[in-house]
């Protein structure tokens, strides 16, 4: 077990930093194939392609020939007390063999129990029982996939009274025990911190920075007394500040801008991503313009309608 963990850790430590990437969305398929934009890499949602025998898979094959690709999933449900879904893992492995991603990631969450799926990234109980349970499932999944996996901190809207371990420590122990990598979603830290009264700076400071192979940035919806992670707009200033902090602490890792709802044209999406360059250093990052926050109360967390097929006639 220790040998395997060390092997996975070695692989995680040797992963490259491909630079600044974008999420591959069906809206941009034609644009990317026609214009070959200068994006460093693409992150693909595994579930959008793993069952496809049609256009999505056909497009992905072409894009994977031109760009480095990372596979990002939403259905592994590593925290669930249901057995691991081996059919899902099998399809994930088949897709990975075809696409040859730099790495495969999912979330520290559960999506359902008793064979149901809420299609949400639900918060895990953060205690020793849960840590042992999740670590054993990560080991199983990694051994099946024959590679280390990378886990992202989700945005959370509640915490449990029975939790005894702070999330940053839970992630640290998880990485130490299994050799997995971490995907630091800076926006999720900001959202969860606001919703659950913790300090996002402290959270990021206490993560194991050498295990972080990728960062996510995204926009969110402020609803007044809580924040929803909507991935539907520009990144806010406070998140960019956390990004600067994380960039300094990690020494710079692959960074991806998520945009899953109200998806703009490709150029606008790419331009927002490239802002990250301005925030890589403390000197430039902290001197950007102020912004006006907009409040709304009808936001939906983790929008997933982009995961449903988008026909092209």
């Amino acid at each position: 077990m220790i040998k395997k963990r060390d092997q996975y850790l070695k692989i995680i430590n040797a992963l490259p930093n491909p630079g600044l990437g974008l999420g591959l969305r069906s809206k941009h398929f034609n644009y990317i194939l026609e214009h070959n934009p200068a994006v460093d890499w693409f992150e693909v949602i595994s579930e959008n392609f793993m069952d496809s025998g049609g256009r999505p898979r056909h497009i992905l094959r072409q894009i994977a020939e031109k760009y480095p690709v990372v596979m990002h999933g939403v259905s592994l449900s590593i925290g669930s007390t249901d057995p691991l879904n081996m059919e899902y893992l099998g399809k994930l492995k088949t897709l990975a063999a075809e696409v040859k991603p730099l790495w495969i990631s999912d979330h520290l969450c559960w999506t359902g129990v008793n064979n149901l799926n809420t299609h949400d990234l639900l918060p895990v109980l953060l205690n020793e029982e849960s840590l042992k349970h999740i670590c054993s499932r990560i080991r199983m999944a990694q051994d099946f996939m024959d590679r280390p996996l990378v886990f992202e901190n989700p945005s959370t809207y509640l915490t449990f009274k029975q939790s005894t371990i702070p999330e940053w420590e839970f992630l640290k122990y998880m990485a130490e025990e299994t050799g997995c990598g971490l995907l630091l979603d800076v926006n999720n830290v900001y959202v969860s911190a606001f919703n659950n009264d913790f300090d996002p700076v402290h959270y990021i400071n206490h993560l194991p920075h050498n295990r972080i192979v990728q960062m996510h940035i995204a926009g969110h919806q402020h609803c007044g007394d809580y924040i929803i992670d909507t991935h539907d707009r520009n990144v806010v200033q406070d998140v960019w500040k956390l990004f600067t902090q994380a960039w300094q602490l990690t020494g710079g890792v692959a960074t991806l801008l998520e945009w899953d709802s109200n998806i703009p044209d490709f150029d606008e999406y790419h331009t927002e991503l490239l802002k990250a360059k301005q925030y890589m250093s403390v000197m430039t990052g902290y001197n950007m313009d102020t912004e006006k926050l907009e409040y709304s109360s009808d936001a939906v967390s983790n929008p997933v309608d982009f995961l449903v097929n988008d026909f092209k006639w």
Binding site: E47, M50, D51, S52, G53, G54, R55, P56, H58, I59, S75, S77, S80, T81, N85, Y88, W110, T111, G112, V113, N114, N115, L116, N117, T118, H119, D120, L122, L125, E129, S130, H133, Y157, L158, T159, F160, K161, Q162, N195, N196, D197, D225, Y226, I228, V300, S301, N302, P303, V304, D305, L307, V308, N309, D310, F311, K312, W313
Partner: protein, 267 residues
């Protein structure tokens, strides 16, 4: 529920129940207070409600994406009402959202408002057929099949012709395909009257093509799908239906041209 020594499975079971079922009872509220932390700004209940309200809104939006013409035909409020009942009765059991609406046509059939009446209304039949057609389109879109076929010409000998693997034929009691096409072209179609209709759905270069076809064409292509040649399919139609072989032979060059153009045939 005992919350002090709650196990991981009990907690997940409880939380999932809170998301999927209706409004929490007074007893539920006590458990929520015992399981979920409140924060400076929100009560435990409001924290949980963020997940509860997003659950239904998120999946409803997915169904709306999957059944765009059905949502138009029913109108937004009625569609949401059906979607909410459906999600309550048939919560997702799959990791993929593409199958979220798989049981919707059967659900609409089971819950049709005139189920107990002897005299059935026609509009539920239309809604059920439309839902089935839209779900079938999403399956065809993702169907496993080779993408490239030899390009045919009207000169390709008939004895070499076969129907393409991704050709699906539909017969309906309502003009479903025409309604769907009119909807896509923003023609704002009205609920149609019953009318026997036939259509073919092909996929070329991974894009779907929808074609309203005639009854004779439907049975001819069905016959070819069952493995008969062009010649044998004509004989089959003449023997089993009211078509005359001379009429079929006369119309065949035009059919052949159209079938090739529409991507129905390959070699």
């Amino acid at each position: 529920m005992e919350t002090k020594n709650i196990t991981l499975h009990q907690l997940q079971n409880w939380m999932q129940g809170m998301l999927i079922k209706g409004s929490p009872s007074t007893d539920d509220r006590k458990v929520i207070e015992a399981v979920v932390n409140h924060s400076q700004r929100l009560s435990a209940m409001r924290h949980l409600n963020i997940y509860r309200s997003s659950y239904i809104a998120r999946l409803r939006a997915c169904l709306q994406n999957q059944f765009i013409a059905l949502a138009y035909a029913l109108g937004n409020d009625l569609f949401e009402s059906f979607a909410d009942q459906y999600l309550d009765s048939c919560p997702s059991e799959s990791y993929t959202l593409n199958t979220l609406g798989e049981k919707l046509p059967a659900f609409l059939e089971q819950t049709r408002p005139d189920a107990d009446l002897e005299q059935k209304e026609s509009w539920p039949d239309f809604i059920i057929e439309l839902a089935g057609f839209e779900y079938a389109l999403s399956e065809i879109f993702d169907e496993q099949a080779a993408g490239d076929f030899t390009i045919l010409t009207p000169d390709t000998p008939d004895n070499l012709l076969k129907v393409t693997p991704v050709l699906h034929l539909f017969s309906h009691h309502f003009p479903i395909c025409q309604y769907y096409l009119d909807f896509l072209q923003h023609k704002e179609p009205e609920l149609p009257f019953p009318e026997e209709s036939y259509c073919a759905v092909s996929r070329r270069d991974y894009k779907l093509g929808l074609f309203v076809i005639r009854r004779a064409q439907y049975y001819f292509l069905k016959s070819m799908q069952e493995g008969r040649s062009v010649k044998k399919s004509m004989k089959y139609l003449a023997k089993n239906f009211e078509f005359k072989i001379e009429d079929l032979e006369k119309i065949w060059p035009e059919w052949k041209r159209n079938f090739i153009t529409s991507g129905f045939l390959c070699v």
